[in-house]
């Protein structure tokens, strides 16, 4: 009797599970990252479903690293698990060239020309747009105006790294737990290497020369990493080698950082009085330069793309058109407030007066995005596209290996020279293995 009851329960459970799968209309599965703008989009997406009752949206929200691994596995094996993928400027051109993504075509009302040119170019390959930007970001200098004023420091336009180092020294007050500068140190191609690549770019460095040979032991790289380690050791918070965006955000909001150079998206968090103790004391400047301003600030856009394996591409395009449109930004501004709209994608957003009033960081952000050029981000000519990365499939492995060495140098486990030597070897090995040269 008991076995019979158990069997019935199991059968019932399986039927229910199957029923829940079978009852969908045209179901779009969307893989996305868990960050504020995306969560707001999920909340507002019921409006899209109301307007399109034949389409049902299903969300798969993942942490950035997990999402990247998950969608890469799926698209490379043509798994067909997702109809829409959230990807960045690293993946879009590579996957587009490989034929893994459907080219996006929108009607005139969508106004593709309104998308910021740098962002549009970064998401295109061979003249075709493969992903539509949902929100974009660059990097900039965010500093404590009160501490800068007290130290007699003025940042105008784009400061130099020497000015930043001097300011870091003056702002540091370790007795009161205030550190002059907070920068990323956690290893990862999207963590410390995103920042360090822009810093190295501004020193005149590049990842690869025109023969694809790694350049990590070049003078500009040595100077950039030496200055970074030196500055962070003297004026940075303890344990910096484990810090990335969120850790520094927590420190900054607690009033423990004088300066922070990171994603422009941080501006909306550190100026929010609900989460920042220094919301009214923040000012902005462009990311610092040294030998050049080329590639001194990065460019990234979380974007929506349709994999070739999706069988519901028409519906997927319809959703992407809705989520990345001017109308969506307007709706978001009117319902949630103009300070919370996704930025960094459309010129019309920055032209909007309501947005300008609500976002004190708007001018600095658009200036940073406009100055970033993925096709020309190094002082000397480079064979790759990308500001804070090189858009080649091998870069993830190389960037992460190099990031580990840089983090070790910051932690004092190895010298800068040793770290760069080891990084050069790792990059050289990977490039040889991939057949870029013998």
């Amino acid at each position: 009797m008991k076995i019979k009851q158990l069997a019935m329960a199991v059968a019932g459970a399986l039927t229910l599970s199957a029923a829940s799968i079978a009852s969908a209309e045209t179901e779009l599965v969307i893989a996305t990252v868990n960050n504020g703008h995306m969560i707001e989009m999920q909340k507002l997406s019921s409006k899209f479903e109301e307007a399109n009752p034949d389409i049902k949206l299903k969300w798969v929200t993942l942490e950035e690293g997990t999402l990247r691994q998950r969608v890469t596995t799926d698209i490379a094996t043509k798994g067909g698990q997702f109809d829409i993928m959230t990807i960045g400027m690293y993946e879009a051109p590579i996957w587009g060239k490989k034929g893994w993504l459907k080219p996006l075509e929108f009607d005139a009302s969508y106004d593709v020309e309104d998308i910021l040119p740098a962002v549009r170019d970064g998401l295109s390959a061979d003249g075709k747009l493969y992903a539509a930007p949902f929100y974009g970001e660059s990097s900039m200098l965010m500093y404590r105006k009160d501490l800068a004023d007290a130290a007699g420091i003025k940042f105008e336009g784009r400061p130099t790294w020497d000015q930043v180092a001097e300011a870091a020294e003056k702002m540091t007050d370790k007795d009161n737990g205030v550190y002059g500068i907070c920068l990323r140190g956690k290893p990862g191609w999207g963590d410390n290497m995103a920042f360090l690549t822009t810093m190295a770019n501004s020193y005149g460095a590049q990842w690869f020369d025109m023969d694809w040979k790694p350049q990590l032991t070049s003078e500009p790289w040595k100077n950039a990493i030496t200055d970074y380690v030196d500055m962070m050791t003297k004026f940075g918070p303890p344990g910096s080698s484990a810090n990335s965006f969120n850790e520094i955000l927590a420190l900054y909001n607690e009033g423990k950082c004088g300066m922070w150079i990171d994603a422009t998206i941080a501006a909306s968090f550190i100026t929010d009085p609900e989460q920042s103790k220094v919301a009214d004391k923040v000012a902005f400047a462009q990311a610092p330069q040294k030998a050049t301003d080329k590639g001194a600030n990065w460019l990234w856009a979380w974007s929506l793309a349709v994999p070739e394996s999706s069988k519901k591409s028409a519906e997927a395009m319809k959703f992407i058109e809705w989520a990345t449109s001017k109308d969506y930004i307007k709706m978001m501004g009117e319902e949630k407030g103009w300070g919370k709209v996704p930025t960094g994608t459309r010129a019309s957003t920055y032209a909007n007066e309501d947005f300008q009033k609500a976002a004190v960081f708007a001018d600095a952000e658009i200036a940073a995005i406009k100055s970033a050029n993925p096709n020309d981000s190094t002082l000397n000519e480079s064979p790759y596209v990308g500001v804070q990365f090189a858009a080649i499939p091998e870069f993830q492995a190389i960037g992460t290996a190099v990031g580990q060495q840089m983090s070790a140098a910051l932690a004092g486990k190895v010298s800068v020279e040793e770290a760069l030597e080891a990084a050069q070897k790792a990059a050289d090995r990977e490039m040889r293995r991939a057949g870029y040269y013998e």
């Binding site: 929200t61 950035e64 596995t73 698990q81 969120n246 941080a266 989460q275």
Partner: protein, 276 residues
């Protein structure tokens, strides 16, 4: 009198050390529980706040954003079914290894155990492609089969250790009395090894419940378990610790309660053959 004093002193030291160790192990869970009742700003405060006005806003947000019951239901289904399926395979296998061993039995058991030594990611692409070809991506069925397979070596080994403690003569006596194989199993072996089978099942239930790697890689919108719900609350940009703590409490809650009531069997299962 002196001896008693010494004994008491040792007892006190042991008790204090045990409590200290237990608290140390429990501390992350306590911290998570406390954080789940903080605001995001309180959650990132340095040093950590221990006195604050608790809020339920994180739990409300999790309820609003996610279909908790859907994920919990998938966790229950996959862990219960994989445990039942695993026991159906592991019990006869362990019986065979314990009571009718061949020359190769030990080798086969070692081979089974060796499959646990390979990192799961090494088998990801083949299993992903197999599931894709069979149309089993994002299905509860595929997860159940995979959970069964990854737990099977442990189940067989645990049951084998348990069966080895049962004198073979008892089974032989039953056979002499005319018992069939089924009678032998149902009327002799099962009552004698019920504790071991229960603890094996409990352990596998817990392992399946907590399995995250395969869930994150093989599911998308429909078959995700609570492990995937927890993973969805981690973010590279923005504050999320309080909400992540709340969803983690919700995810581990059922299995912690379950584990609390079945801890005696779990400990028994984990210490089979330890005192030989």
């Amino acid at each position: 009198m002196f001896g008693s004093y010494e004994w008491n002193k040792k007892l006190v030291i042991r008790t204090v050390a045990s409590w200290a160790l237990a608290l140390l192990v429990f501390f992350p869970i306590l911290f998570m529980l406390v954080t789940s009742f903080k605001t995001e700003l309180q959650a990132i405060a340095v040093p950590s706040l221990w006195v604050f006005e608790p809020t339920l806003e994180n739990y409300t947000e999790v309820q609003d954003r996610s279909d908790y019951l859907h994920f919990a239901w998938n966790s229950i289904i996959t862990s219960v079914l994989s445990t039942i399926l695993g026991l159906l395979i592991a019990v006869p296998a362990a019986y065979s290894f314990a009571f009718a061993p061949t020359k190769r039995s030990k080798d086969i058991m070692m081979w089974m155990l060796s499959t646990k030594m390979m990192p799961a990611v090494g088998a990801l692409i083949p299993i992903y492609v197999i599931c894709q070809k069979l149309g089993l991506l994002d299905s509860v069925f595929a997860l159940t089969i995979i959970f069964t397979m990854i737990n099977l070596p442990i189940m067989v080994w645990m049951l084998y250790s348990n069966f080895k403690d049962i004198p073979r003569e008892i089974l032989e006596a039953a056979r002499m009395d005319g018992a069939t194989l089924w009678d032998e199993f149902r009327q002799v072996l099962l009552p004698l090894s019920m504790g071991g089978i229960a603890s094996t099942g409990l352990l596998c239930l817990v392992l399946s419940w907590n399995e995250a790697f395969w869930v994150l890689n093989l599911t998308s919108a429909n078959a995700g378990t609570l492990a995937s719900l927890v993973a969805s609350y981690s973010s590279p940009e923005g504050l999320f610790w309080a909400k992540l703590s709340a969803v983690s409490v919700l995810a581990i809650g059922p299995i912690v309660v379950f584990g609390w009531f079945s801890q005696k069997q779990l400990v028994q299962g984990l210490t089979f053959g330890a005192v030989k």
